[in-house]
């Protein structure tokens, strides 16, 4: 379904639609706050990259996706998963490394996905998923499907070779893809100005004769209309685009980073004052679609939902330890193919390898 109940650039979303998106942003915010807490309680391992502050960039761009559209994200992917509608309990379970997680506990925080909702993953190598997303667009085009790809990545990714090759391929092949640069001003501790010779990222689209545009990534409806327009254009006209959504991450790069060495408290405070959620809540209040009480109810609602998700995830089982090798190969013949490799195999390759004399 390509959302039809909505508006051209500059026009407001229908009130119910707006409330729904506000709720989704609140859900992400609450989910991330609790994930942070769960991480410090060691229920979550590995890295944990929070999207607090970037909710509008996520929800605004993902919501206009249609039924045949496909989403790719970086490792900062909790927001993407929740925006696309994955179950909070299944996402939290993945963070907890449980069998009920969206990737069965194999992926963790950085590698969420939801094939049914056409979310094809969070990816850990900066810039690495851009060429892959181009391939997904190629597949849609190859099959004559009317879907498009939305590929999210950070500002830091735009300095990788993968960015350049991906955008060039998408452009020469006229592929249906929207590259969404989530410019949160930093890649770890490195500012966009320091890392990118062209710090207005959308301008790099010109090197591929591609349309580029920048929107305020903390303005939900601005993101929404731009993404909607560019996704339609990609679907209908097979024209790729680069959409830069300018936003800020309130927290450090990951839960392990305080996020303080490389930016001033003033800067962080200034951006917190532009909180995308409070801002959109104010818009809806202005329009009479929301009041303080309703807002409080929404917040309570998502808080309960996240609490329930945590409870569900915490009581879910760990993956079957025998499943260590379960998904390494998927071809039905793989077991047979590998069977002749076992004799004399180094111990550790497959448990149960026979010792030499036996």
């Amino acid at each position: 379904m390509t959302k039809a109940d909505t508006a051209k650039d500059g026009q407001a979303l229908a009130p119910e639609h707006g409330l729904d998106l506000l709720r989704r942003m609140l859900l992400i915010r609450r989910f991330e706050e609790r994930a942070e807490e769960q991480y410090t309680r060691a229920r979550i391992g590995g890295y944990c990259h929070l999207a607090i502050g970037e909710e509008a960039a996520n929800v605004g761009a993902v919501d206009p996706m249609g039924d045949r559209d496909v989403l790719f994200a970086s490792y900062r992917d909790h927001g993407a998963a929740l925006a696309v509608g994955s179950e909070p309990a299944a996402v939290m379970a993945e963070l907890f490394g449980r069998a009920t997680g969206v990737a069965g506990g194999y992926g963790g925080s950085m590698h969420l996905l939801d094939v049914e909702r056409r979310f094809l993953g969070g990816w850990g190598i900066v810039g690495g998923h851009l060429p892959i997303a181009v391939g997904a667009a190629l597949a849609l085009d190859y099959r004559g499907e009317t879907g498009a790809v939305l590929c999210q990545f950070g500002d830091g990714a735009t300095n990788t070779g993968g960015f350049h090759e991906a955008l060039n391929l998408a452009a020469i092949w006229n592929l249906p893809i929207v590259f969404q640069a989530i410019n949160n001003h930093y890649g770890m501790g490195t500012s966009v100005e320091q890392a990118s010779a062209e710090s207005e990222i959308f301008k790099r689209a010109a090197a591929y004769e591609m349309h580029g545009e920048r929107v305020d990534g903390n303005d939900l409806e601005a993101v929404w209309s731009a993404a909607d327009r560019l996704l339609r254009r990609a679907r209908d006209e097979r024209r790729p685009a680069l959409l830069e959504t300018v936003t800020y991450r309130h927290r450090g790069h990951s839960v392990a980073d305080a996020g303080k060495v490389y930016r001033s408290p003033d800067e962080v405070e200034a951006w917190k004052a532009r909180d995308p959620i409070l801002r959109y809540a104010a818009v809806l209040m202005d329009r009479g679609a929301l009041d303080e009480d309703a807002f409080a109810v929404l917040r309570k609602d998502v808080a309960d939902e996240v609490t329930a998700a945590i409870g569900e995830a915490a009581s879910a089982p760990a993956p079957d330890p025998d499943g260590l090798y379960a998904h390494v190969y998927g071809d039905a013949g793989s077991e047979a193919q590998f069977s002749r490799m076992r004799p004399a195999g180094p111990f550790g390759e497959r448990e149960g390898t026979a010792s030499w004399r036996r």
Binding site: G101, A103, G162, A166, L169, S339, M341
Partner: protein, 334 residues
């Protein structure tokens, strides 16, 4: 049964797979109008058009990545990397991505992609164009790596690779392209399974184990020894990951002597793994330690005399075999 070149066997397999399955498509540099740098895709662009035989810019990372993405959506891309040397810019795509997708996402999505690429040396192409890097891929769980040595296997294993649901690195060889051999009759659609080595020459005194072009060298070395009344068995690994060590073990239990030869560098090479496993499995059977031969451990020099000295030539394989046999009292040392 017809005799065709290794190149033609590959071309036929591609043609038949393109005709059989609309999800199969080719991607690579110069594979269209130009018909492939080594002409493996000759005629296919004209026959199937630019969507199914897709020419790419010089963007190995980009189009290998695109292959992964297309495969995740269920297509069956066959990506050509002009020579294995140029896969290095795409290494991150192969090792960090193609090999990982299946397991990392808990089996929810797979990558049925083939990467075809020739290795090899011998035409004075020098350091950056003469490598055999297959062991780097054979080391990586999540990948399969095959390396056929003759037209029949090239044809049949390419079909197997294309129909496999996992990423397969399909190693070809620059020198092999022009060598001929039998292939199945047209339309016979023979699939040679992944993961099975083959005894391509029976013998009783020594087993030479090799893959890709080096199998041809091994067969010639076997011929040489045959004239001296020494019987050499040759095992063609065909598949490097999975590795069919069973077939190697059976052969070595019989001959009690083994030599592993490869075109690439022997240190940390394919032969190291084969030798280590053979020593373990045939500890009580071996008459002497497994011998290994590889290319000189130097970036390939240009000058003809230096290049000749660097190759894992028949002479070198024969000399190593002779030493081994001499140590065991079977041949005269020379």
């Amino acid at each position: 049964m017809a005799e065709v070149t290794y190149r033609e066997a590959l071309r036929r397999a591609l043609d038949e797979e393109l005709a059989r399955d609309p999800d199969v498509f080719l991607m690579g540099e110069e594979i269209g109008r130009f018909e492939g740098s080594y002409k493996v895709t000759a005629g296919l662009w004209a026959k199937y058009g630019g969507t199914r035989v897709r020419e790419t810019p010089i963007s190995e990372e980009g189009f290998v990545g695109a292959g992964i993405g297309a495969a995740m959506l269920g297509l069956r891309p066959v990506v050509e990397i002009m020579t294995i040397n140029f896969i290095l810019p795409a290494m991150d795509m192969v090792v960090n991505h193609a090999a990982k997708v299946g397991a990392m996402f808990g089996g929810r999505v797979r990558v049925p992609m083939v990467i075809r690429t020739p290795g090899g040396a011998g035409a004075q192409l020098t350091a950056q164009h003469s490598q055999s890097l297959e062991v780097m891929f054979a080391h990586v769980p999540g990948l399969k790596v095959v390396a056929p040595s003759n037209p029949w296997d090239a044809y049949g294993m390419l079909k197997a690779a294309i129909r496999d649901d996992d990423p397969v690195l399909f190693l070809e060889n620059l020198v092999l392209y022009n060598l001929t051999g039998e292939v199945p009759d047209e339309g016979a659609d023979v699939v040679v399974p992944i993961g099975e080595a083959a005894v391509v020459r029976e013998g009783s005194d020594l087993t030479i184990i090799a893959h890709s072009y080096t199998v041809r060298r091994a067969l010639n070395v076997a011929d040489r020894f045959n004239q001296e009344g020494i019987s050499v068995e040759v095992v063609d690994l065909r598949s490097l990951r999975p590795l069919d060590i069973e077939t190697c073990i059976a052969s070595v239990r019989k001959t009690t002597r083994a030599l592993v030869a490869e075109e690439g560098w022997a240190t940390y090479g394919i032969g190291a793994e084969v030798a280590a496993r053979l020593h373990r499995a045939c500890f009580d059977d071996l008459d002497a330690p497994v011998e290994r031969v590889g290319g000189a451990e130097a970036p390939m020099p240009y000058a003809k005399n230096l290049e000749t000295a660097a190759l894992a030539s028949e002479d070198k394989i024969a000399a190593a075999a002779r030493r081994l046999l001499a140590d065991c009292g079977l041949a005269e040392a020379r």
